[in-house]
């Protein structure tokens, strides 16, 4: 049997069908984010990469690192 691959219609949110589960995951990720460790930045970047254009994320990342190195 060939599995069907059906695309969501344009404009539909990737997360719209999973709001309750997504909010549960979001809440958990937020809890992970605030815990000490490298998770904070990774969670922030992950959220940005799934919800914003890649170039915007990269611009913010590079700008942050660049300004961090401003003498």
């Amino acid at each position: 049997m060939v599995p069907q691959r059906v695309r969501d219609p344009p404009g539909s949110s990737v997360n719209s069908a999973n709001n309750s589960q997504t909010s549960d995951v979001d809440a958990f990720l937020e809890a992970v984010r605030v815990a000490p460790g490298p998770a904070q930045r990774s969670v922030d970047i992950a959220r940005q990469l799934v919800s914003e254009p890649t170039e915007a994320v990269l611009a913010a990342l590079v700008k942050y690192e660049f300004e961090l190195r401003d003498d």
Binding site: N18, V50, A59, V62
Partner: protein
């Protein structure tokens, strides 16, 4: 919502039982035998609607995958949602199973996405047999699945970001000054090295050439002494032979001139042409004469040959004689008739002449009057009967025809004679032509011989000239253009004894060879460095231009602005981009790490598996999980049931336990200690209270294997809770699944006709499909 299930056997004949139906209703009670697929049906529904019921139970997943064929599920509530699950394409790891690859789904007959399904239907299953630890652990497994999905969604973006940053770093590397500067420095070094190699090589080469010349001079001097006289003799001999060859050449030239003089010149050629034209003309004339003969012979109706013409002429002559004689006879007929008439008159008038009287003698034969009269009379009768005029005309006509024919034959004969003459003329011209051509051939032959002699003489002269030149060159080579004194001077110039010259040269050759190789290597290095420097400069210019103007890098320009490409600025940018790339890659790793840590914690809490080595990420995950469980435990129902109302201070998942204060003292208990029915029930109630649907989804809450909670007050409390949640709009539908509480079939049989309708229906359903489903009382 009503649900229908059907399963087909796998290709090897295996299949798993499923419930044929879960009826519609706010709270549906399903009581059935073990092994009929109650829990399986719910798990399949959860799986099809986008859940992950096997996330923490990979063994059950693999057993399902290999134990059944296609499974179809229909969920209808006005709108029909249909699923077709085909284990053929499922992966081994349940958390890696993509929903798209489970099979297919439709809504109202149209293909549907996972999101579209999730918008309409969600299944929450709470298993009653789970203890506190397993219930908590399974939450983390569900979270791990959701984080995995986040990681999958993150993948393309992270990969694109990494690719973009990698490309940017390469551009920055090329745009940085250090590469071009380094390449320029390398080029300068290589050029200096080349200069050094050349400086070292030149004097050695010069010394070598001097020694070489000295050695050659010594060799030349020796050769000149030993071979010079021999070569001189060769030159003299060659000179004499050459002189002889020249003489023979002169003789051959003279002979050639003589034969050329007698060779037919242009006059003979012209004569040849004239005769050839004469032949052509005469042949044409012969052709015309032949044509005339043919035409005349045709007109004369005679073969065009002398013999036939002569025979025809003879015949005509004979015919002419005959016809002429005949004509003569015809011409005499009137005269004869007239004579005969006169004779007969005379005979008639001579009446007194006796009839038997002899009137004449013909050839001595006497002829009487009677006889003569009868004969004359007969003859005149004949003549009177003859149409003389017609016969004369005919004879004249034949005579004329014969004359014409004779004239035609005469013409043919004349034409034949002319043809013969013309052919004689052609033969004569051809004979002249042959004579002329044979004369020419003879002259050509003599000329050719003279020419060959000349060529041979010339070749001899050339060969001898070469031979003489070779000998002269050899003699000159011995001295290499030097005089004997000059050779002695060359030898003296090296200030080295002649006997040591060869070894000195060998050493110098080795030295020069080594230095030459070094120079060649240095030259190659210079070429390579020059090319590299040019490439580095071009790359630098192009890379800077690209970063400054290409739309693809507009985001980069917005982040760092336009720089001066100084070393400091470039280093700063490269470091920033490198670090940004590391942050992106760390994100992918850490998100996966979060999912892995969740699975690790789930297995540790649920099944007491040892935790894997901790990382900063796993520590953050454990901390978040602990806080999550602590907040969950802080619900009033759970605090009251489990902790006597106390506030939970902390949860420790490394040693699954919870801590609170009782009477001012800190109390810590492991999860396994909370095993009483009351405590488990309280936890379950809290979990039910946490379940909340979105406004437009059908949230199906399944309480599976809840027999422990249906006894006595618990059932009443549970019912009340469920109805409250439904009426509050938090839950759409509840399905309670419990094992058979009695042997309904036996009970119905025993009751016989007295069996209540409810018992009878239950017994019939259990007997038919192994379970019954009813609306639970509110």
């Amino acid at each position: 919502m009503r649900f229908e299930f059907a399963s087909a056997p796998s290709p090897d004949g295996r299949s798993l039982p499923v419930l044929p139906e879960i009826p519609n209703g706010p709270i549906v009670w399903i009581e059935g035998r073990n092994g009929i697929g109650k829990s399986l049906s719910v798990r399949l529904l959860d799986l099809a609607s986008g859940g992950a019921p096997y996330a923490s139970d990979p063994e059950a997943w693999r057993s399902l995958r290999s134990g059944t064929g296609v499974i179809t599920i229909r969920a209808s509530n006005g709108e029909e949602i249909a699923f077709r699950l085909d284990p053929e394409g499922w992966v081994d790891e349940p958390t890696r199973q993509a929903w798209d690859r489970l099979g297919s789904a439709t809504i109202g007959g149209e293909p549907a996405t996972r999101n579209q399904i999730r918008e309409r239907l969600r299944v929450v299953r709470i298993a009653g047999e789970e203890g506190l630890a397993r219930a908590i652990g399974s939450q983390f497994a569900d979270l791990a699945t959701e984080v995995d999905k986040l990681a999958d969604r993150l993948g393309p973006g992270a990969e694109a970001a990494d690719t973009s940053l990698d490309a940017l770093l390469r551009l920055l590397e090329h745009a940085a000054s250090d590469r071009a500067e380094s390449a320029a420095a390398d080029l300068a070094d290589a050029e200096r090295a080349l200069e050094g190699a050349v400086v070292a090589l030149d004097p050695a080469s010069h010394r070598l050439s001097v020694v070489d010349r000295a050695i050659h001079a010594a060799d030349s001097l020796e050769a000149l002494t030993s071979r010079g006289p021999e070569l001189t003799a060769q030159i003299e001999a060659a000179t004499q032979e050459l002189h002889e060859a020249h003489r023979r050449r002169e003789e051959a030239v003279a002979e050639l001139a003589a034969t050329a003089a007698s060779r037919p010149g242009s006059g003979v050629t012209k004569e040849l042409e004239r005769i050839e034209k004469l032949v052509a003309r005469r042949e044409k004339a012969a052709d015309r004469a032949a044509l005339e003969v043919t035409q005349l012979a045709g007109a004369a109706r005679v073969e065009p040959s002398d013999q036939h013409v002569e025979e025809a002429r003879a015949q005509i002559v004979r015919d002419l004689e005959i016809e002429t004689a005949r004509r003569g006879e015809l011409a005499r007929v009137d005269a004869v008739r007239a004579f005969l008439t006169r004779l007969l008159r005379l005979l008639e008038e001579a009446e007194d002449l006796d009839a038997r009287a002899i009137v004449l003698e013909v050839s001595g034969q006497p002829i009487t009057r009677e006889v003569l009269q009868d004969a004359a009379q007969a003859r005149r009768s004949v003549l009177d009967q003859t149409d003389i005029a017609q016969e004369v005309d005919a004879t004249d006509e034949r005579l004329r025809e014969l004359v014409e024919q004779r004239e035609a034959l005469e013409a043919v004969a004349t034409a034949l004679t002319k043809l013969a003459h013309t052919r004689d003329m052609v033969r004569g011209a051809l004979a002249q032509l042959d004579l002329l051509e044979s004369g020419l051939a003879g002259a050509k032959g003599r000329f050719r011989v003279a020419r060959e002699q000349l060529d041979a003489a010339v070749q001899d002269a050339e060969r001898l000239t070469l031979k003489k030149q070779e000998a002269e060159r050899a003699l000159a080579a011995l001295a290499e253009g030097f005089t004997e004194q000059e050779l002695r001077d060359l030898i003296a110039a090296v200030e080295t004894p002649i006997a040591e010259l060869v070894s000195a040269r060998d050493n110098l050759r080795q030295q020069v060879s080594d230095l030459g190789r070094a120079r060649d290597d240095a030259l190659r290095v210079v070429d390579a460095c020059r090319l590299a420097a040019a490439e580095a400069q071009e790359e630098q210019d192009q890379s800077r231009e690209t970063l400054a103007s290409e739309p693809e890098w507009a985001w980069f320009r917005s982040a760092v602005g336009v720089g001066d490409w100084s070393a400091g600025w470039t280093d700063r940018v490269r470091s920033a981009v490198t670090q940004a790339r590391e942050a992106v890659n760390a994100t992918s790793r850490n998100v996966k790490g979060i999912a892995d840590a969740l699975r690790d914690v789930s297995a540790h809490v649920s099944d007491a598996r040892a935790l894997l080595g901790e990382t900063p990420i796993s520590q953050a995950v454990i901390a978040a999980c602990e806080e999550r469980v602590r907040i969950e435990f802080m619900s009033e129902a759970i605090r009251t049931a489990l902790f006597h109302g106390a506030a939970v201070e902390s949860v420790d998942l490394r040693n699954p336990s919870v801590s609170w204060k009782e009477d001012g003292l800190r109390v810590t208990r492991p999860f396994s200690a909370f095993s009483s029915g009351e405590q488990a029930f309280a936890y379950i109630r809290a979990r039910i209270e946490q379940v909340r649907k979105r406004a437009d989804e059908h949230l199906l809450l399944v309480l599976d294997e809840f027999s422990a909670f249906i006894a006595g007050d618990r059932r009443r409390l549970l019912n009340r809770l469920l109805n409250e949640r439904i009426q509050a709009g938090a839950i759409s539908q509840v399905v309670l699944i419990v094992p058979l509480s009695q042997d309904y079939v036996a009970a119905a049989a025993q009751a016989g006709d007295d069996a209540s309708p409810v018992l009878a229906r239950r017994a019939a359903d259990v007997d038919r499909v192994g379970y019954f489903a009813e609306q639970a009382p509110s």
